[in-house]
């Protein structure tokens, strides 16, 4: 069975894959309002991710979710670097697992909030 890792794309990420083969594989969901790319992985890689991250789970869509932001960030960087959505990009990320785990540990304490003005609802 194939499992899916979804990588969401904002403007900054879109610019980094512009003109690459990955750009052609961008999907738009929810009425075109959310852009993403999908990486398919097999059982072995899926098990590796679940083992590496306690929070990771498979949702009702067969997607691997609740992985640390550090993992997702590294995954996108690898996609942009290799210009690919193949399983090899995940393997490359898992090769740096100790570094990602260290970043993830810090993330469980603090995540910088987005720069959105909330003064009107304070």
């Amino acid at each position: 069975m194939a499992y899916i890792l979804e990588v969401f794309l904002d403007e900054s990420r879109l610019s980094k894959i512009k003109g690459t083969p990955v750009e052609e594989k961008i999907d738009a969901v929810f009425g075109g309002q959310l852009k993403l790319v999908r990486v398919e992985v097999g059982e072995e890689i899926k098990d590796g991710i679940l083992k590496a991250f306690e929070t990771a789970r498979i949702d009702s869509r067969g997607c691997i979710t609740d992985t640390p932001v550090a993992f997702k960030r590294a995954l996108f960087e690898e996609i942009a670097k290799q210009k690919s959505l193949g399983e090899e990009v995940v393997k490359a990320v898992l090769d740096k697992i100790d570094e990602i785990k260290a970043a993830a540990a810090k993330e469980s304490e603090h995540l910088p909030p987005p720069d959105i003005d909330t003064s009107d609802i304070e």
Binding site: F30, D59, C63, S108, P113
Partner: protein, 461 residues
């Protein structure tokens, strides 16, 4: 026409439990007496039996009992009542109730009380944050095995094959709460003698059952449908509320009562403050008229018991005066312990192994609140709308909403598109994210919650 109208249901058990002494002089006399004889106990949080982090504070249960949310329960259960709840999910007076409600203390604390001569028949002053809070009139003292209590509370795939799919373990927060109980139980009625003052934003949403029924009367809500939540609302939740509320009697339900469960939650849930204000934003921003939508909460460290939790939800919201309760898939669930539709099975057919050979609305001592069982919502690119899965037949094209999808977006700092989360609701998440430095419940937030709680205690003098 009148015969077609639904009546507001009576409180579960026939009357609302209200065990709150408001006369400060009377309260002070009780405090003075208890302090004189040394019958004083400082409430301690329940700590995870392995990891030592807070998983419950019994003060929340005392509040929910004394203000009538759990009517007809009046206090910590006796051994006979506990046995009755575990075997039949009924109190000794015959009214259904799903969970053990217990005041548990350690053996060491019990030895201290014994040294002071405190035992059955005595009154114990319970302090919270060092201040008088409530009293417990001790009827019985007995010992439990917390591991056995946890297993019997939730069941097993062998004992409850209709709905339990996996053995409960320490990944299940509700099982952990019971497993982490202390072994000595002080049974007896609770009475609050010093009403806590809620902090902001909880103060705006504290509506105990009697008050709630009065508000329904003032608003002219003959019918009201309850929405259970432990989450900030995405558009799927909003559609669930709007669509489920089309039920009613001769017209759609007059009111939608959002009742959030406030207490210790699992990592990855949203902070309680964000949950309440985000739901409130649904009406403030006009997605559901405030004339028809009200946000409230119940204090309870959630047990995530799917069908059992739905029974407690039915009891709470019937006590608050609701005529209907919406139930979706995986109601109050975590992990794969239960069948996805376990709650709906209970309310449609009953679950004999839990003591319900018929739905809880059809058995003696059961509930009057009507279930509104709902399937899920998804985004359909063909219909170009958030569609009800029971109607939309574009199965292959559906785009499922999931809480984890939205959590993933939020964590990455990507604003969820308006079609799945209203921008005003997202703004509330960001507001509390700035305050706590994190958008979700983490260890730091759990520690903060236990230190602060939702309330302060006033001085009695």
């Amino acid at each position: 026409m009148a015969e077609l109208y639904f009546k507001r249901p009576m409180p579960h058990g026939g009357r609302l439990v209200e065990r709150v002494i408001k006369d400060k002089k009377a309260a002070k006399k009780i405090v003075d007496f208890c302090e004189k004889v040394g019958a004083v106990y400082d409430i301690k949080p329940t700590l995870h039996y392995k990891r030592g982090v807070p998983v419950r504070n019994v003060y929340r249960e005392i509040m929910s009992v004394c203000y009538g949310f759990f009517s007809p329960v009046e206090g910590s259960m006796t051994s006979a009542e506990l046995e009755s709840v575990l075997t039949k999910r009924k109190l000794l007076n015959g009214w259904i109730f799903p969970y053990p409600i217990l005041f548990d203390i350690s053996k060491e604390d019990y030895e201290e009380l014994k040294k002071k001569g405190i035992g059955s028949g005595d009154r114990l002053l319970l302090k919270l944050k060092g201040k008088p809070f409530a009293i417990l009139d001790i009827e019985e003292i007995y010992e439990i095995d917390p591991a056995e209590l946890a297993d019997r509370t939730f069941g097993t795939p062998e004992t409850n094959p209709e709905v339990v799919r996996e053995k409960f373990d320490d990944k299940h927060p509700g099982w952990v709460i019971y497993r982490s109980h202390q072994p000595i139980i002080l049974a007896g009625k609770y009475t609050i003698i010093n009403e806590p003052i809620f902090k902001s934003p909880f103060d705006r949403f504290w509506v105990p059952p009697r008050k709630c029924r009065e508000i329904f009367e003032e608003k002219g809500w003959r019918t009201a449908i309850a929405h259970q939540t432990r989450n900030v609302p995405h558009v799927g939740h909003e559609m669930l509320m709007k669509t489920a509320a089309y039920t009613g009697d001769v017209e759609p339900c007059h009111g939608i009562l959002v009742n959030a469960i406030i207490g210790v939650k699992r990592r990855g849930d949203y902070p309680d403050e964000a949950i309440l204000e985000a739901h409130d934003m649904v009406n403030k921003a006009g997605y559901i008229s405030p004339e028809r939508h009200m946000v409230t909460f119940t204090l309870w460290d959630m047990r995530y018991g799917n069908p059992l939790e739905s029974l407690l939800h039915g009891i709470i919201r019937q006590n608050m005066g609701c005529t209907h309760h919406m139930f979706g898939r995986d109601h109050a669930a975590v992990g794969e312990y239960y069948d996805t539709y376990a709650t709906q099975i209970l309310w449609l057919k009953g679950i004999p192994s839990y003591g319900f050979d018929k739905p809880p609305t059809e058995i003696e001592g059961g509930l009057e609140i009507r279930p509104q069982n709902m399937k899920e919502f998804w985004y359909c690119p063909h219909c170009k709308e958030m569609a009800y899965s029971g109607c939309c037949n574009h199965i292959k094209e559906k785009q499922k909403l999931s809480g984890s999808l939205i959590r993933g977006l939020v964590a990455e700092g990507v604003q969820p598109p308006p079609i799945i989360m209203r921008p005003e609701v997202y703004k509330v998440i960001v507001k509390w994210w700035k305050k706590f430095g994190y958008p979700f419940v983490n260890e730091k937030y759990v520690e903060y919650k236990e230190k602060e709680l939702e309330v302060d205690l006033p001085d009695l003098d």
